[in-house]
C-alpha cells in the first residue's frame, strides 16, 4: 500500500478504495480528514469530529460514483464537506463564534513575539474570519485550508470562477482593512 501523498498515489489509493479496500480508505481518511476537520472548525462547527466522520462516511458511501483524478477527488470531498457544513449551520443556526476570553488570551501571547514572525492566534484568526461574509469565508477557507484551485472552489460552491475570484479579492481586502484598523488602535 502506498501513501497517498503524490497525485498518482492518491489516484491509486482512490481506485483501491473504490474496489472496497479498507486499508486504502483508511489512508484516504488519514490524509483528508484533518483538512476537512480544519475547514469545519474554521467555519464554526461545534462537533467537528462527529461531522468529519459523517463527511467521510458519505465519501465512502458514494465512492463508487466518483470519477476523476486526484485533484477532482479532493474537490469532491470538500464539496461534500461544504454541503454537510451548510446543513449543520442551518440546523444549529449558529455562526462562527469565538469566545472573547480565548481571543484575549491569544492576543496576549502574540504580543510577546516579533510581528514579522508572529503567528496569529486561532482566536484572532477566527475573529477576523467572522468579519467576512459566509461566501467570502467559504472561498478563503477552501483556497487555503482545503488547498483547492479557483476552479475547484467554483465547482465545490456551485459558482462561476469569476464570482469566486471576486469573492476572494473582497475577502482579502476586508481582512487587510480590519487588520490595519486593529493595528492603528493598538
Amino acid at each position: 500500500m502506498t501513501s497517498p501523498g503524490e497525485p498518482a498515489d492518491l489516484d491509486r489509493t482512490v481506485a483501491e478504495a473504490q474496489r472496497g479496500s479498507v486499508p486504502a480508505f483508511e489512508h484516504l481518511y488519514r490524509d483528508l480528514s484533518p483538512s476537512v476537520a480544519s475547514y469545519l472548525r474554521w467555519n464554526g462547527v461545534v462537533d467537528v469530529e462527529s461531522l468529519t466522520n459523517e463527511v467521510m462516511a458519505q465519501v465512502h458511501r458514494n465512492l463508487g460514483r466518483f470519477t476523476g483524478d486526484s485533484a477532482s477527488f479532493r474537490s469532491w470531498v470538500f464539496t461534500i464537506a461544504h454541503h454537510r457544513m451548510v446543513d449543520d449551520r442551518r440546523a444549529s443556526s449558529r455562526r462562527p463564534v469565538v469566545a472573547e476570553a480565548e481571543i484575549q488570551e491569544s492576543a496576549a501571547v502574540g504580543d510577546a513575539e516579533d510581528d514579522a514572525v508572529t503567528r496569529l492566534s486561532d482566536g484572532e484568526v477566527a475573529a477576523l474570519l467572522d468579519r467576512l461574509s459566509p461566501d467570502q469565508r467559504d472561498v478563503l477557507l477552501l483556497r487555503i485550508v482545503a488547498d483547492l484551485s479557483l476552479e475547484d472552489v467554483a465547482t465545490a460552491l456551485g459558482k462561476r470562477r469569476g464570482a469566486v475570484k471576486s469573492l476572494q479579492h473582497r475577502a482579502l481586502a476586508t481582512l487587510r482593512r480590519h487588520l490595519d484598523r486593529e493595528g492603528e488602535t493598538s
Binding site: A17, Q18, G20, V22, F25, E26, Y29, R30, S33, P34, S35, A37, S38, Y39, R41, W42, V48, E49, S50, T52, N53, M56, A57, H60, R61, N62, L63, G64, R65, T118, R119, L120, S121, D122, E124, V125, L128, R131, L132, S133, Q136, L140, L141, R143, I144, V145, K165, Q168, H169, R170, L172, A173, T174, L175, R176, R177, L179, D180, R181, G183
Partner: protein
Amino acid sequence: MTAFRRRGRRTTDRIPPAAEGDELEWMDVFDELDEDTAEHVLRGGAEEIDPELRDVARVVAALRAGAAAEPVPEMSSALRARLRVGPDPVVVAHRRARRALVLAAACAAVVVALGIGAAQNRLPAGVQDAVSSTAEVVGLDVPSSDDRHAEEEDGAEDTRRGQGGGGPVGDVPSGGRDDGAAVGPLGEAGQPPPSTPGGAIPADPAGSGPAVPASPPDKVDEPAADPVGPPADVPSERVTGAPGADADANRDDAAKDKRAK
C-alpha cells in the same frame, strides 16, 4: 427583529463600513490586488508581496498552520462499520442506466413501427388518425383513415369498370362470346367483333389478344371460333362471313321463291 439583524449583518459584510478617511486607500488596495498578488498571498509568500499585505499573509499562514496541526479525528464506530460494508455498489446506477436504455429502445421501436404502419396506412383507424394528426403538427404528411376509405372506394369502382367490358385486358376469357350487353372498344352493342381476313377471329373481344388462326375456308361451314353461335337476330353469314354460307342462303331464297310461285 431577527430579519432586521440578519439584513444589517449581511449589508455590513458586503459593504464594509469605512473608517474616517480610509475609503480611498481601501479601494486602491482592492483595485491593485491582481490575481498574481492574490495567489502569492494565499500561498503564504509574505516575503514577495507588498508590505501592506503582510498582515493578510500572516492570517493565511495561521490558517495553513492550523490545518497542518489539525489532528486526525478518531474514526467513529459507525464509520468503521460502514467500511466493512463497502461502498455502495455502482451496479444500481448501471441497472438504472440499462433500464433507461431498454425503455428508450422500446420507445424507439414503437415509434418506428407506428411510423411505418402509419406511412402505409395500415394502422387501426383510431391509431392512424392519431398518428396522422400528430405528424401533421410537425409538418409530416401521413394519410388518415379517411384516405384509406377513399382508396378502397376507388379500387372497387375500378374493379366494377373492368368487369363491365371496359376493364383491363383479360377480364373476359379468351374465346368467350360477346353477348352485346356492353360496349367494347372495338364493336358496338349487339355486334360481334369483326372477323379477321381469312376467317381468323380475335381471341379477345377487346381485340388486343393474339388472334386465333381459323380453320381453312373450305373445311369450315359453321363458325368454328364461335361454339355458341351468333345471336338469334343476327344472320349467320354476317357472323361467319364464310363464302359457303352465301351459296346456302341463295339456295334457300330460290326454294322460297319456287314455293311462292
